[in-house]
Symmetry: C2
Subunit: 261 residues, 2 copies
């Protein structure tokens, strides 16, 4: 009987291979099998050894869930003695079903290790110059999947959420209208600033800002597509302020350069 | 007039240099000046070039805030034409006052870049086998600083927090009793599972588990020291389950080995 291989549940961060951790890069490089999701960039896969088997197990939005197949695949490959890398966008233990995968592996006697990653819940806002906390504007952050707004939505306590300073919704493009409606119905002011960050750290990065009242309409007009992260709260104003300051300082330094020439 | 240098606000992750991002390592390596906090490990500082000036600006717990000094220092060094690396534990835009630093730099015309990091809010629970979300047990996570429980505590809406599935309190050792009391007073069940993770990804890592009712007493008995992260919610049970499964599977594979010998 060959020795059972180890499975590494690896957080691949928000997209850019540059935002992988050193440990993630090392783990990817030793994988015999790479099982990856929809949101993994080619540059990340390129870090695997060329002999590795790369298996795409992404779930296209709206399609049926392949979680059982993923579980079976991880165990099957490990039992063949292979070192398996399960690559997940962001962090494997935040809405990545990584907890369930770890549980399944443990139940089946497969050794595993979980490698944390940079999650979009902080890095998508950061990429748009939004700090999710701020000494004056926010001392609490709640993170929710946009998916939860439908289907599992009954589980979301909108009245509680509405009272948290900053809210971050991951994977929310299709539910942004419902999210905004539910939050305002639960008492959050319609004028609360909101920002939608599309494809943070990807080539197609694009940011739409507005308020709870108009962010859904603006997202529609600007044809925002998944993946996108919604931030709701006063902290969104920091972005506007920083953008202005940075633009001003760039204008000044350009003027200075012109004087020097 | 020498050109103004750039300031990089870099997230150094939870501690282990292995959990830095590739981008963070690259930025650290080009710094002329490294301004660092209390929770930065020697192994991280060792990645800076040997000629770099390393300036410790940590705030010992309870001591007066040096934030103004940090702001002034960053601008002063940048105006000397230096490339400045501002190293912050975890992610620079989550409770790191990175937002304020970015604002100050922008106000003073200093160019800056923010590099996201692996935050303890997810990685500390992960290091203890706790996934903060779980399809059945949790679809929302709130993140709060333990510091907020005192002083700025008036700002915390405990009734709202008590209704979020998973709660993560960073930097909470001294306020754990208050946190537990406030949450139960706000309606969270005293039997809610809780885990306290001390020094995640450092040599002294230690995990204490219990419930909202007894976690403060257990932390005292086991002399938990900062930094530590508190997780409250049903997801803590996943850890217990995983630990059992892993122990079982290790026992089995040991038995098999003995049979083979």
């Amino acid at each position: 009987m060959s020795k059972v291989g180890k499975v590494y549940l690896v957080g691949a961060g928000p997209g850019d291979p540059d935002l992988l951790t050193i440990r993630a890069v090392q783990r990817i490089s030793i994988g015999d099998v790479i099982v990856y999701d929809r949101l993994i960039q080619q540059g990340v896969l390129a870090l695997a050894k060329s002999s590795s088997e790369k298996i795409y197990m992404g779930k296209p939005p709206g399609h049926h869930c392949r979680q059982d197949e993923i579980h079976a695949l991880l165990v099957e490959k490990a039992r063949q003695g292979k070192t398996v890398i399960r690559l997940k966008g962001g962090d494997p233990f935040l809405f990545g079903r990584g907890g369930e995968e770890a549980e399944y592996l443990a139940e089946h006697g497969v050794p595993f290790e979980v490698v944390p990653g940079v999650s979009a819940c902080l890095s998508a806002p950061l990429s748009a110059n939004i700090a999710v906390t701020h000494r004056e504007a926010s001392s609490s952050v709640a993170i929710v999947t946009g998916h939860s707004a439908f289907g599992n939505g009954d589980r979301i306590d909108w009245h509680a959420l509405a009272r948290i300073d900053t809210l971050v919704f991951l994977m929310c493009v299709h539910n942004i209208e419902t999210i905004a409606k539910n939050l305002t119905a639960a008492g959050r002011a319609p004028a609360t600033p909101a920002a939608l960050i599309q494809m943070a750290y990807w080539d197609g990065q694009h940011v739409v800002t507005g308020t709870l009242e108009n962010i859904a309409a603006r997202a529609r007009t600007q044809e925002v597509e998944p993946p996108a992260t919604l931030v709701v709260g006063e902290v969104v104003n920091l972005r506007e302020r920083l953008q202005q300051l940075v633009a001003e300082s760039e204008r000044k330094s350009k003027q200075e350069e012109e004087v020097c020439v």
